[in-house]
Symmetry: C2
Subunit: 107 residues, 2 copies
DNA sequence: TTGACGCATGCCGATATCGGCATATGATGA
DNA sequence: TCATCATATGCCGATATCGGCATGCGTCAA
């Protein structure tokens, strides 16, 4: 999952799909990539469940299934307190924790 | 940034550093990896600014600087409405968008 | 200065990734 | 059935990644 969204083009695909399903060729065109390139990225996204596809005639429409991004959001959110404090205060905070850790028992 | 946190071990390092600064060897020990392995991952995290280091005697303490995770959090949050709806409703929503997109002008 | 410690770096081999190209597959329509 | 369109897959070369190992470099203590 984290790996799937590590690729800039795949993130662009997901952003594009927020405004609706699209066939592969259209995605490739909008992102300035080849059709096989788009298909490969879509495959990765499909394998982690971030997109789903349904066949419509000759085409295959890809749509967003962003549920897998929720864990990502929550994981990053677990660090929210660290970026909300000013960096100086954070530094002091970290030092305090370090001190407490060294004085306490093994973690 | 997204690439840096795509690695499970690097994510574990960040989680560990939430509770305080740590020297390299201790991180390596806690994560069951070799010291060079830990150093390499820390280097990647340092290059994207997710950790900072300060020298204390012979040791080098690594601390968290999670500010770079804020864009990640916000990017994933941009998909929140998609995972908050039930998947059936999401599907209808997506179909509506697709319909509107096809009826409208070129995007 | 020497030795020991903590850490970083370089090298290696194995594996994965990515883009581009050609081509296979599947569905449609004549 | 045959041609065509839309898409997927296979192959290739270039590049990146990762783990493990050895070793270099800086720091401290004696």
């Amino acid at each position: 999952m984290f790996n799937a969204i590590a690729e800039p083009q795949r993130r662009e695909i997901l952003v594009l799909l927020r405004s609706g399903e699209r066939p592969v060729t259209e995605l490739a065109q909008e992102l300035g990539m080849t059709q096989p390139g788009a298909s490969k990225h879509l495959r990765v996204l499909r394998e982690v469940g971030l997109v789903r596809d349904r066949k419509v005639g000759k085409q295959r429409l890809y749509g967003l299934d962003a549920r897998g991004l929720r864990p990502v959001h929550e994981w990053a959110g677990g660090f929210e307190r660290f970026w909300n404090e000013s960096f100086d205060r954070l530094d002091a905070y970290v030092r305090n924790l370090e001190q407490a850790r060294n004085e306490g028992a093994a973690e």
